[in-house]
Every structure is written in C-alpha cells, then in structure tokens.
C-alpha cells in the first residue's frame, strides 16, 4: 500500500532544484537562511563543549571525592 511517504518527504528536500510549492509563499529567502545558518555550528560548539566539559568535571569530582575517598575494595 502506498501512503505517499516519498512524496511527503520530498517536500522537505531542500537540495532539490525545484522548491516545493508551499515554499513560494515563504517570506524568508534562501540567502537569508544561509546567512543565519553560517553561525549555527559555533553556537553548537559552545553549547556542546560547555555541557560535555561540565559532565566530565562532575564525573571526575564524584570519582575522586566520593568513590576513591571511600577507600579501596577488592
């Protein structure tokens, strides 16, 4: 049974040459969109870097100040 999924997904394919009909009414131009997306990876880097740095530091703090401080086991 064909649910028309391919046709549905193709409406989201921005790499196709012909834009989907719905986008003709979009007030945001491709150039404006690209301009905004230029800076996205820097923000992602900062956010992911800060999140991962905090996670690693928290893990090290728990390992050193709780696990190792409680004494060895074997």
């Amino acid at each position: 049974m064909n649910f028309g999924l391919g046709e549905f997904m193709s409406n989201f394919d921005r790499s196709s040459d012909s834009p989907p009909p719905g986008d003709t009414l979009d007030p945001i131009t491709d150039a404006a969109l690209e301009d905004v997306l230029k800076t996205v990876p820097q923000g992602a880097f900062a956010l992911a870097g800060a999140a991962m740095g905090l996670l690693v530091l928290a893990w090290l703090a728990v390992y050193v100040f709780i696990f190792l401080a409680r004494g060895p086991i074997s």
Partner: protein
C-alpha cells in the same frame, strides 16, 4: 572562529568535535585504569561454593563462629549469614583503619548488602560465599541493608556495622569482637 560556509568545513567541524569527544572518553577511561592499577582496585570477584542446605552446620558459618574475629596474625574477618529476613549477627563491630575481610553466604534466596558510606557492595547468592575486602576509614555506625528484594520482609532486613576507633577496639579471649564490648 571564522564562519563555516560550506559542506567541507562542516565535515571538518564534525571531525574536530568527534576528536574532542574521543579525547574526553579516553581521559575518563585512563583515570579509571590508572587509579585501579595503582590502588589495586577491582570489583569483588571471589568465587567459592558452599552447600546452602548445610550452611549452619559448616565449621565456618556455625552460629558460634559468626561475627567479627581477629586471628592471631591480626587479620580481621567478619562472617555473616544473610537469611530471610535478617543478617546474623545484627551488629558487626570492625576496627577503624585496618583491612577487614567480610564473608557472607545465604541458605535460602538471593540477598545483597551494601555498607552505607563505603564502597562495600555485593550480592549474596545461595551456594556461594561472597567476600569483600575493605578498610573502614570513618568511625561510627554504618547502616547495612539488604539491597536485593528477597521477600515480604525485605525492607526489615538490615544490620549495623560499627566502626570502632583503634583506641577503643577490644576483643575477648577467643579473639571475637562484639558490639557490647567495643563501643
């Protein structure tokens, strides 16, 4: 950082991020590996079998031999039976700052124990003797609950580990320590 403008730059960015994540994971594993090697840390991995039907008749886990005993060479061993729904004995004195070997077995179902505020934590499986070696650094009473659901009375199954400072540590003539003589 310069704006990223094309597909190749994006791929480079992703590669750099992958290297950073790989580096972070490597640091975590290195910390675990080096500290485990230097401090000889490893999970309790003792494997010793015992007949669960005759635990109380065995020489080691006979009622008179349970609890804390100090051998002539100074080694401290605690022997405990974990049974539905109590640890025997209920109060376990141990000396502060000395190596202690805890040996536990079960005659009925799977139990477990952890000692609050320490890393001592293992399962107690019928047919096997669980053994944990550790050093108690902080004097005082530590709760030791059963942490494997063992039946309707599971929540009532707990013991007390009393860590006694060296100056107050006492044993009787047989080398046995009890909570009522070491306070």
């Amino acid at each position: 950082m310069a704006p990223i403008t094309n597909e190749q730059e994006l791929q480079k960015t992703e590669f750099r991020w992958a290297m950073i994540v790989t580096g972070a994971v490597t640091v975590l594993f290195a910390v675990i590996g080096i500290s485990s090697f230097v401090m000889a840390l490893h999970p309790p991995s003792h494997v010793e079998s015992i007949d669960p039907a005759t635990v109380s008749q065995s020489k080691e886990f006979a009622e008179s031999n349970l609890g804390t005993s100090v051998d002539p060479d100074g080694a401290v061993t605690v022997r405990i039976i974990a049974t539905q729904f109590a640890f025997v004995p209920r109060c376990i004195p141990v000396p502060q700052g000395k190596p202690v070997t805890i040996r536990v077995t079960s005659p009925d179902v799977i139990h477990g124990f952890l000692i609050a505020g320490t890393n001592a934590n293992t399962m107690v499986v019928p047919g096997y003797v669980a053994e944990v070696r550790t050093v108690f650094g902080t004097a005082g009473d530590h709760l030791m609950p059963c942490h494997e659901f063992c039946g309707l009375g599971h929540s009532e199954m707990w013991a007390l580990v009393r860590v006694v400072p060296q100056a107050q540590w006492q044993t009787d003539a047989d080398g046995k320590a009890r909570c009522d003589i070491s306070r």
